[in-house]
Symmetry: C2
């Protein structure tokens, strides 16, 4: 006979369940058993209803669903700050791509994904949607760290260390899925890079594969205006029209950036059910343009929030990203009511879960859902006084205020530190990679 998992009750000062939006529960116990939330009750009923539960009191804390980082390239944390304040093409061709060519192998991906896992977990992110080479290695890190992820299987028509041509990328992706031990916390997505690096033929094949395997299609789309001109020249059509013609502009598509939408395309995108992975910091840092968050939101589109890679952010900080999402939605639309705090919190949780097809299981604090939870300590000068908890979560809280994180009921962060990985060893290893990259740069400059 197998013993039932123990029952644990969390007793925070505030519970922000996210569903329903803009609700705050006081005097509430969130009851966990194994991986799941089994009850949400008035704290006064706890002793009667669950006499054997252990209790964790979180006296100055808000408890929220784990944050979902909807678009990123986790190993790129090793390149954060390597090259900033540069035009996109100079940044890519003179810094990012040569660095990747020189370093981005299995060990780099392991070190980078591990650092990203530490950074994301300690910042309250419990699930992330990634796209990078060696997703099999990132899967190992996800497995060990306790995180949840949707890992992209990259495809593009540019030869790299991962594959030589599109068919090679697809073969390697199929092999990764086949060879990785199944893990309920890991899902896969096909990740064609962008319309300008993927052929029609491969898009069609990936459409079929995605449908057959029930995977999402994770694509960079309309990041910059130049992409549209290029598509008109090469394909005689706008990237959206091309995707429509290829049968891919639907709710399986999760599209990062989307900064270049016309009024008609806002309506079309909402209608089609395409999910938008909004990356406010990266879009501004690379001067790509603004995503029309307020208009898309009003049209009923599902918008999630992502950090993008740390080379263009330069952090994997969903608290910073939520704040920015609200601020620039208002600033850009000149509408102070756009993207209120509760909506940005939804975009960073339940709407991210929805984009990844995981909203039945994560993204809110509801009975029956996975216990992906984050406790934030609001007892700090910067979050005093507390007139409105949800406002503070979006406009004021720093990720350093995250105290405890659970994923699928398992403690991953305790008292601000990751307990599933050797955090110090991960940081040391990353410092070594930094030094290695420096000495390479020096070699080049001395030639």
């Amino acid at each position: 006979m197998i013993a039932e998992p123990a029952i644990q009750a969390l007793l925070p000062k505030w519970v922000v369940p996210v569903v329903p939006e803009n609700e705050v529960l006081l005097n509430t116990a969130v009851v966990l058993q194994g991986e799941r939330i089994i009850d949400i009750i008035d704290a006064s009923e706890l002793a009667d209803r669950y006499p054997n539960a252990t209790s964790k009191i979180l006296p100055n804390h808000a408890l929220i669903p784990g944050l979902v980082n909807a678009h990123g390239h986790s190993p790129m944390v090793l390149m954060r700050g390597l090259a900033d304040d540069l035009p996109l093409m100079e940044w890519l061709t003179k810094h990012i791509w040569p660095t990747e060519q020189a370093f981005a192998g299995e060990d780099f991906v392991r070190a980078g994904s591990s650092l990203a896992a530490v950074e994301m977990l300690t910042g309250g992110t419990t699930c992330f949607n990634d796209n990078y080479f060696f997703p099999n290695i990132t899967a190992e890190v996800v497995n060990t760290s306790g995180l949840r992820a949707t890992l992209g299987l990259p495809v593009m028509n540019i030869p790299t260390i991962w594959a030589q041509d599109e068919a090679g990328y697809i073969d390697r992706g199929l092999k990764v899925v086949e060879e990785t031990e199944p893990n309920a916390r890991i899902g896969w997505a096909w990740a064609p890079h962008a319309p300008y690096t993927v052929t029609d033929e491969s898009f069609v094949r990936l459409g079929d594969l995605s449908e057959g395997m029930d995977f999402k299609l994770h694509l960079h789309l309309l990041e910059t205006a130049g992409e549209i001109d290029q598509s008109m020249a090469e394909h005689g059509s706008h990237p959206i029209d091309r995707l429509v013609n290829l049968g891919l502009y639907n709710d399986r598509l999760i599209a990062a950036h989307m900064t270049q939408l016309s009024d008609d395309q806002v309506a079309q995108t909402a209608e089609a059910g395409v999910h938008i992975l909004h990356c406010p910091a990266a879009n501004m840092k690379l001067a790509s343009g603004f995503c029309r968050v307020d208009d898309l939101d009003q049209a009923g589109a599902n918008i999630a929030i992502g950090t993008d890679g740390a080379a263009s952010n330069n952090r994997l900080d969903m608290f910073a990203e939520m704040r920015l999402a609200s601020l620039i939605a208002k600033g850009f639309s000149l509408n102070p009511v756009a993207a209120p705090a509760a909506r940005s919190l939804s975009m960073a949780t339940i709407q991210g879960a929805k984009a990844l097809g995981l909203d039945a299981d994560i993204g809110s604090i509801e009975v029956g859902k996975q216990a992906d939870l984050v406790a934030i300590d609001l007892d700090a000068p910067g979050t005093t006084p507390v007139h409105n908890v949800i406002s503070h979560l979006v406009y004021v809280v720093s990720r350093s205020q995250v105290s405890d994180v659970w994923v699928a009921g398992k403690v991953c962060v305790s008292d601000g530190d990751v307990v599933t990985l050797d955090q110090e060893a991960v940081v040391r290893e990353s410092i070594k990679w930094g030094l290695k990259m420096h000495s390479k740069q020096k070699d080049k400059s001395s030639i």
Copy 2:
């Protein structure tokens, strides 16, 4: 015979002096005596040159000049999150002004300024430019906390607890200056609220007073587009033309916001030497518009950075503000080279000092300047690896990484906590004010 002050050497991993811009010094000792920086030398020379100096090793730290928060209303921290996501006029007339009317007396200002002092000091801000009622009370807090400040003497044609009419405001301001014990860390400015709340007559008088007393003139200017229409209707001229005609559009003017400049006015403002107090978060949160940072910078204008009050930010966090300044300058101008990290750091330090007329004394790490210094611990997952210290300071560092702060050579923050004020008591007192404001709101809603 009075003993000479002891000599202390700080030995951080990196020194970022800000002047010259974009420089990083390694193996460097910053030598302090009393209030001042007396030397900056190679660390290897320390034992020979200053054999009696005590040393403080900052092994993983960057040392930067103290941050200058160039525009704010410090006591408004007590209203942070009280009302968000609202149109400007509803926010002001239904929430902020009624709350101020009910609460903003001496005790409120003392509690609020104290909380702001704790928040700013722990976040690396060593000097702030303020504008609020009871600047005499804020001066007491500045004195005790060890901070440095330029305190505005408010003037407007709206009756408040502070004064009934413009003449009354001016009288009260003169009295505050006369009655406050002189303190080298405290300066004053005349602070006419905005062109739409101050008459020509008072502007002229304040121009004369400012010149006679050698004070700056601290003004909200062109925060929103509506302000221009109103000025055309009431005065028959644009606010800038009106200020020019009144003889006030010159380098004594420090103008907050400035989101509505034409091409000609960008050139005119730079030429006139008017200092811009740029508040990126508040301008976006209230959907006021964008300050043309890149254009103003290229025209040679001096731009400083401020948080504005915490009711419209909602934090007094100059690290968040520097990052935002760089990000939105790029995003708005669609120029990725705009406001590079080193420039935002200058705007948050030496350029803030210049706006306040304090650049001979603060704003950079230079021999002879006041020792207003901030140590930031970069040994954290989010700031690993360190390819570029200045990039990290602007794009990645959280204020929680500030470990030590000195103002005029005196330790104000040690190991992340304020040592000049009873930080815990300040937080408790602010929580009480929060509860008081809640119960008042409940009273109103139950009527």
